[in-house]
């Protein structure tokens, strides 16, 4: 079980809701993924087209835990405002802190992320900061009281997979709160790698929504999350320089 704050989850795969080819495909992908936590963003309504389809319309929101993000925020204060707007919906008390420091790389601003996390914890939110793979920053976020820490595998939407497995394993090793690898996942192999390194969960969006067949990829990501976790729990063998025979050397009928 994955425990975040006072909530427990069977699924270790969190799914974003952006950029699906259609709301129907999104709905099917979400169902196949068996994700229990969905992320989304907070944006101004278009008051002149109020009936444009909304992603919530197709989903039974009572069946999911909603994890709004603070995307669009460049400062801690902006992140807190977005978080409060999301909470006013009465549908969620978790918040993904996302304070971007660079438009080109979409890498998180470490100082503002830390400040926003502190401010939102004081406001009583369940806080899950999206952060870089900096080992010390992850520790500092945990020390503040973050309920989970979400290091990026690589830049958002890049599909580059885990570019610093050493840092990720160090973050996992030192953590006492769930580590959720967020952003940059490209393929099921990346998910397996992250889970085998000991990550507690995966958050991805574009890897599924941008796949040729998002529903099939959602299925693959679900299985990869489970396979990686099982492999981590089972404990892989150590790597050796030379071969070790699997079959016994005694009793051979030749020679």
């Amino acid at each position: 079980m994955l425990t975040i704050g006072d909530k427990q989850f069977k699924s270790r795969l969190l799914l974003g809701t952006g950029k699906y080819p259609s709301l129907d495909i999104q709905k099917e992908a979400v169902a196949v993924s068996e994700s229990e936590i969905l992320t989304f963003a907070v944006r101004r309504m278009n008051i002149y087209e109020p009936s444009q389809p909304n992603f919530l319309a197709k989903l039974d929101v009572d069946r999911f835990h909603l994890l709004p993000n603070t995307a669009g925020a460049k400062t801690a204060e902006e992140a807190v405002r977005i978080a409060k707007l999301a909470k006013a919906s009465g549908l969620c008390d978790m918040i993904k802190v996302e304070v971007i420091g660079c438009e080109k790389t979409l890498l998180p601003d470490p100082v503002e992320t830390l400040r926003a996390t502190e401010m939102l914890l004081e406001e009583g939110f369940i806080v899950l900061p999206y952060t870089s793979d900096d080992v010390i920053l992850a520790k500092r976020l945990e020390e503040l009281g973050a309920h989970a820490v979400m290091p990026g595998a690589s830049p958002i939407g890049s599909g580059q997979g885990i570019i610093n497995p050493l840092n990720l394993s160090l973050i996992v090793e030192q953590a006492n709160v769930p580590i959720i690898v967020d952003a940059g996942i490209g393929s099921p192999a990346d998910v397996v790698q992250a889970m085998e390194l000991g990550a507690d969960a995966i958050l991805l969006n574009t890897a599924v929504s941008g796949a040729k067949d998002p529903v099939k990829m959602a299925h693959a990501m679900k299985m990869a999350t489970k396979a990686g976790r099982l492999g981590y729990e089972a404990g892989r063998i150590s790597k050796k320089r030379y071969a070790t025979a699997s079959s016994p050397m005694e009793g051979m009928s030749i020679g």
Binding site: A41, R43, M45, L85, A86, A88, I156
Partner: protein, 67 residues
Amino acid sequence: MQLRINGDVVNVPQTVTSISDLIQYFKIDNPVVIVEHNHTILEKDDHAKATITDGDTIELVQFVGGG
């Protein structure tokens, strides 16, 4: 009555007196409408009580797909 809604200057009839009226006036049927009225975020239950007057600043936000 002139309001600033989501950054735009918008004219609405005088019959629109509360936030609830405003949501109905624009025929907004989203499952989630979150309102910030003169920089104060409102709980859903307060939409009917919140009276609007000329010159008010209102933000109407929603949840959209995102990662």
